[in-house]
């Protein structure tokens, strides 16, 4: 049964599907490799307390590259952005909420206002 002929609109390649050129993939790949090298190098440089934030910044940029290009989020409907954003927001809320308790209790030793 000649599938393509009868498929009509329903069967045609979904309109929004944007085919990403191979060159973009290779460029992103190289960027990721550079990022990995960078983060390893950065760990040998003594930046004081800034080491971890720098490592996280590099990791976040690499993750964004993968999400936007490899996972096509850049060309996907906005709804997917909402859900990725929601997950990250609640994860941040978890880390900040728990971290705040430890910050107050252990680091700044504000356990009890009186003691």
């Amino acid at each position: 049964m000649p599938e393509h002929a009868q498929a009509g609109h329903a069967g045609a390649a979904p309109a929004h599907d944007h085919v990403v050129p191979v060159s973009t993939y290779v460029m992103v790949f190289l960027a990721l490799m550079v990022g990995t090298g960078l983060t390893v190098a950065a760990s040998y440089v003594d930046l004081g307390i800034w080491n971890t934030p720098v490592a996280m910044l590099i990791a976040v940029t690499k993750a964004c590259l993968v999400v936007l290009f490899f996972m096509h989020l850049k060309y996907s409907p906005k709804l997917l952005w909402v859900w990725v954003g929601a997950a990250i927001f609640f994860l941040a809320q978890l880390i900040v909420g728990v971290g705040a308790d430890y910050l107050a209790r252990v680091f700044l030793n504000l356990g009890n206002p009186g003691t």
């Binding site: 009890n112 206002p113 009186g114 003691t115």
Partner: protein, 337 residues
């Protein structure tokens, strides 16, 4: 304990009044809103009940004004309650300077309290009125929670770190002490009592005047050395039952029978495998060096006080075996000047 059928806990500490004030305020708020909703429901249901099968009411889609009112008003009440609650909380958490220090150690299923002057108590705490008492607490195993309902104070006690709580008793009497964080089998027996005394009476207690009779001291040692774990009141213990033992003839595993007198008990404590009761394993560890001579005497006095089985046990039920600081021999109470 208050007799009869209480509906409201005693107010026996400075913070109790503040907590109860907030409690009554919230009861008033909740009462008002619950009644409001309940009466509205009943009135609407009765007044607008369906009279005809095909009846169609007037469609009302909503009014922003009404929505705003029942958003803003609850918000104001809520934030007001929050501020009041926070104020009481900060009062509860700020230990007043010059408070009397008490160390509390929670161990699975008992509370060990120790005053700065050396008095050690199990499941008991004697405090004077009018003096703020600061509790510095830790746990030897799982999370417990030091809870005195009459003082409205509760604080979880965690292993591996110190938790602090404080209270200032205002009326004398004996009040419940509970463990409020689930900690295993005998969680519901990890209870005790707080004895609030006049300052003078407290001083005499502190000075050892009111120390318990040897039998009472023996009974505490009986627990602190964990004898109770084997010599239990019911017969499933690994060691023989001690009720009414004193003066009775006992058949030994070697077949001979002897009268269970003070020496036999003393020897069985310090050198248990010398005379083993028939039908029991020689598994009792020696307490040589773990209990002082005076301690042995107190233990004997305690065993002597155990009459026929089922006799009224002096200490509150279910205080399990207890070990003081590892290795430290249980120094008998030396009266302090």
């Amino acid at each position: 304990m208050s007799s009869g059928f209480p509906l409201f806990p005693a107010q026996a500490s400075t913070v109790a009044g503040r907590v109860d004030a907030l409690y009554f305020f919230l009861i008033a708020i909740s009462g008002f809103f619950s009644l409001l909703i309940a009466t509205l429901l009943v009135v609407f249901v009765v007044r607008y009940r369906r009279r005809r099968a095909g009846e169609l009411p007037q469609p009302i889609h909503g009014s922003l004004a009404l929505e705003l009112t029942w958003t803003i008003i609850p918000l104001i009440i809520a934030l007001g309650t929050f501020v009041w609650g926070a104020d009481v909380f900060v009062y509860e958490r700020r230990v007043p300077p010059g408070a009397m220090e008490v160390y509390v150690v929670g161990k699975r299923w008992m509370w060990k309290t120790q005053h700065m002057t050396g008095q050690r108590e199990i499941n008991e705490l004697h405090v004077p009125i009018g003096v703020p008492v600061k509790l510095t607490m830790t746990s030897e195993d799982v999370i417990h929670s030091f809870f005195i309902p009459a003082f409205r104070t509760k604080q979880d006690v965690l292993p591996g770190r110190y938790s602090t709580a404080w209270f200032e008793a205002t009326t004398t009497g004996t009040y419940h002490l509970f463990c409020a964080e689930y900690c295993g089998t005998k969680h519901s027996q990890m209870i005790g009592s707080i004895h609030v005394m006049e300052p003078a009476a407290f001083q005499t207690w502190l000075a050892g005047g009111a120390t318990g009779s040897p039998a009472q001291e023996g009974e505490k040692l009986f627990q602190s050395l964990a004898c109770i774990t084997c010599h239990r009141a019911d017969s499933q213990g690994r060691g023989p039952r001690l009720d009414g033992l004193f003066g009775r003839t006992v058949r030994l595993s070697t077949g001979e029978t002897i009268v269970a007198d003070a020496d036999y008990i003393r020897e069985s404590i310090l050198n248990p495998t010398a005379k083993v009761v028939e039908g029991y394993q020689p598994i009792m560890p020696t307490f040589q060096g773990l209990v002082s001579e005076e301690g042995v005497m107190q233990l004997i006095a305690y065993i002597q006080s155990l009459q026929a089985p089922g006799a009224e046990v002096v200490a509150p039920p279910g205080a399990g075996g207890i070990k003081l600081e590892e290795g430290a021999s249980p120094a008998p109470r030396k009266p302090k000047p």
